[in-house]
Each structure stands twice: as structure tokens, then as C-alpha cells.
Amino acid sequence: MFSKFKQQEQILFLDPDLKLSIDPKKRYFILLSPSLYWVKKVTLPLKYTHEVKKIAPTLFEETLPEGNYNFYVHKELDNSYLVFAYEDKALLALLTQKGLSISQVKGFSFAQFAIKKDEKALKINEQNVVSFKDDILVLLPLDWFSQTKDINLYEFAKPKQTIKLEQFSHIVDKSTLYKIVALLTLFLMVLIAQYLYYAKHKESLALQKEQLFQKYKLKPTLMQNKAILAQYKKRDQQAQKLRTYINYFLKANFKKKEKIVSFSYDGSLLKVVLEGVTQSSLKRVLSKFYKEKIKFTTKQTGNKLTVEVKI
């Protein structure tokens, strides 16, 4: 049931002088007219097509005009090859000129592979026909032939031999692209190495942290340790305050009949009972407390004055 949705591609014969009616919703398989490529039949003592492809540029050395060409090699018989040369840029430009988007094209092949060798000359327009000459499909003038047949694309089967156009090969050549690939790979390796280094460092840091807890015999969580530290800090502050305030009292400016009767401290409040000190003389006696703006409360009971300071 899904085949219903599958778009069938239509075969299209692409020639610069042939008018095409393009449906933007359809997909096409392009047969390249002989006017769009160069072809040579060669016999070489080579076994594989990729070996022939390597030397293909030299085979066309004096034939091809200036340009950036790609090559396709088809093996016919042992040591006999058909070598095709085509220019991606020119083909892409023609597609655009004909109103065809590359996304609509499912594939490309050479007309050579689609037309039967015993076929009559096929008329492609009012001036030209395509016909086989020495096993190679060529473009010839219509006038040369008395009997021709109109080209009917529905008769053609999609050839097995296909090519892919390289869209950017005319901007950057392949060797440059491979250099870019090498550079990016190198950069990627550097990034991976850096990532691994950081990951290892992170791991060792976690281990160091664990060792730190063991070395200093800390509680399992930082929260617990912080709480203990806060307790110690509070205790230290209280001890310092207690020492300072008692010192202030001991060094207070007492006159005759003025003296300290008692000190008491319960962990948060320091109570000092003074004898002979009145509210009026308090500023002299506790001048340090006033100067340092230390808050305290007082309570007078007869001759005795109780000073209370929060610690």
C-alpha cells in the first residue's frame, strides 16, 4: 500500500537545444545527450575501471577545452573501456537554465547506455539526431539521414550505469576538500584529546576530594562540615568577646568605693555586678563600651548595679 505514495521518476533527455516541460512536483532521471559529454573508446592493458579512471585525464589531454572535468569509465570487454568526460558545473548550469532543481533529479546517466545500438537515428530536434558510430552514440545533423525516428523516452529503460554530479567541485577541487577533511579531523582529534584530558582531570579531582575528606577526617557531606565549622566559629567569637569584655571591666576607670562584686557567664550572657557605681558614673566606668558601641543593659538594686552584656 505504501507504493501508492512512492514517486516514480520520469526519464528526461537533456540537451541544450531541446525544449523541456518540467513539472516541479515530479522527479526525473536524466539521460545526458552526447553534446554534454566527451567519450573515448580505449584499449588498455589495465584490469580495473578505477585504474583507467586514474589515467582518464591524460586520455583527453588534447581534446577537452579548459574546465574542471569528472570522468566515468565503463568496461566493455577485457581491456576495452568507454571513458566519459563531463563537466559538473556545465551540467548543473544547464539544469538551472531548464528550470530543473537538483533536488528533483534522482540520477544521471549517459544516453549511450539507454539507446540500443541497432536503433535507427533518433531525431531529438529539427537539426540533430543521435546515432551510433563505431559503438559510440554521437550527435549528428538531421540532414545526413533519410530515415529517422522520433525520440520516445517512454521506450527507454533506466540504465544501470549512473553518475553523481559534484555540486561544488567547480568551486573547490577534491584535493582541497580532502585537505579540509584532514584539517577538520586533526582539529577533532585535538578536541577529543582535550576532552579526555579534562575528563581525566575531573576524575582525579573527585578522587582528591575523597582523599581530602579521609585525610582531615571530615564528615561525609560538606553540609555537615560547614555546620560544625559554623559552631566552632561561633564558639571562637564568643570566647574572644568574653575575653575582651571581661578585660574592659577589669581595666575600667573605678574610683574609690567602686568595685566589681561578681562576674557570671552562662554561655550567652555576661552579668557583672558593680558596687558603688551609679547610672551617672556609668559613662566613666564603662567608657570603652560606649566608645565601641557595645550594647548592654543595667539594673540598679540599692548600691549595686548589674550590667548585662550579650555575647
Binding site: 577538520l184 576530594k209 581530602l212 582531615y216 562540615n225 557570671s264
Partner: protein, 135 residues
């Protein structure tokens, strides 16, 4: 054999680089946080050890108190000590004010965690003392 299109390879590499770049930024930030956390933990640990040495070391407190109380000037005061699981209490019914001054200076300078303190003047020369140190 079809060779891989270098353009596809470049796109794949760029995507990988971008992905790795984000991962690298993330791990760098994680590492920075971990380093800060480690430094913070180390600082807390060192501070804790220092405080524990002063306020939490039961043996040190006991030993140094014993040395202070063994001084000749305090012998007359007949100082009594009472040890419990929570701390130690120092008591004297009558201590000379000079001896008291010397004892308190030593206690205050020695950073002892004083929990409770009671000093009452008895007369012009003597006072009573009750001091509780908590560990």
C-alpha cells in the same frame, strides 16, 4: 567501490566538532566548579582542623589545664577539678585575686571553650571561682 563524498565527510566532521565543542565547554565549566568546590572543601577542612585543635582536642585541653593548675601560685587556692563527658569544671571556694588574675589570663590566652563562669568577690583579696570548660 563508491568513495565517500568529501562534502558529506566535512559536514559530519563539522557536526562532530560542534557537538564536541559543546561537550568541552560543559566539562570545562564542570571542572571549574569542581576545582572551586575542592578549594572550598580544602579551606573548610583546614579551618576545621585548626579549630578542632583549639576547641575540640580533649587531651590537649586536659593536659594544658593540668600544667596551669600545677603552678605554685595556685596551690593555695585549693582548686578542685571535676571531669565529665561534656567537659571539665574548675572550682575554688577562695582564690587570691592575683592568682585569679593569672589563672584567667592563661585561660583566656589559651583559647579554652568556656561554657560557664562564676566569680564572686569574698573580700578585698579573695574571690570564689567556678569555671566550666566544654569540649
Amino acid at each position: 567501490m563508491n568513495r565517500i563524498n568529501p562534502l558529506h565527510l566535512i559536514i559530519l566532521l563539522l557536526v562532530s566538532i560542534l557537538f564536541l565543542f559543546f561537550q568541552l565547554t560543559k566539562i570545562q565549566s564542570d571542572l571549574h566548579e569542581e576545582e572551586e568546590a575542592y578549594k572550598h572543601s580544602e579551606q573548610i577542612a583546614k579551618e576545621l582542623v585548626a579549630y578542632k585543635k583549639f576547641y575540640g582536642d580533649k587531651q590537649r585541653i586536659k593536659k594544658s589545664l593540668k600544667m596551669i593548675l600545677a603552678q605554685g601560685s595556685l596551690k593555695k587556692a585549693k582548686i578542685q577539678t571535676k571531669e565529665s563527658s561534656r567537659g571539665i569544671t574548675i572550682m575554688s571556694k577562695s582564690i587570691d585575686l592575683y592568682a585569679l588574675n593569672s589563672l584567667m589570663s592563661k585561660l583566656f590566652n589559651g583559647a579554652y571553650p568556656i561554657k560557664n563562669l562564676q566569680i564572686k568577690r569574698i573580700d578585698n583579696k579573695n574571690a570564689s571561682l567556678r569555671l566550666e570548660i566544654q569540649w
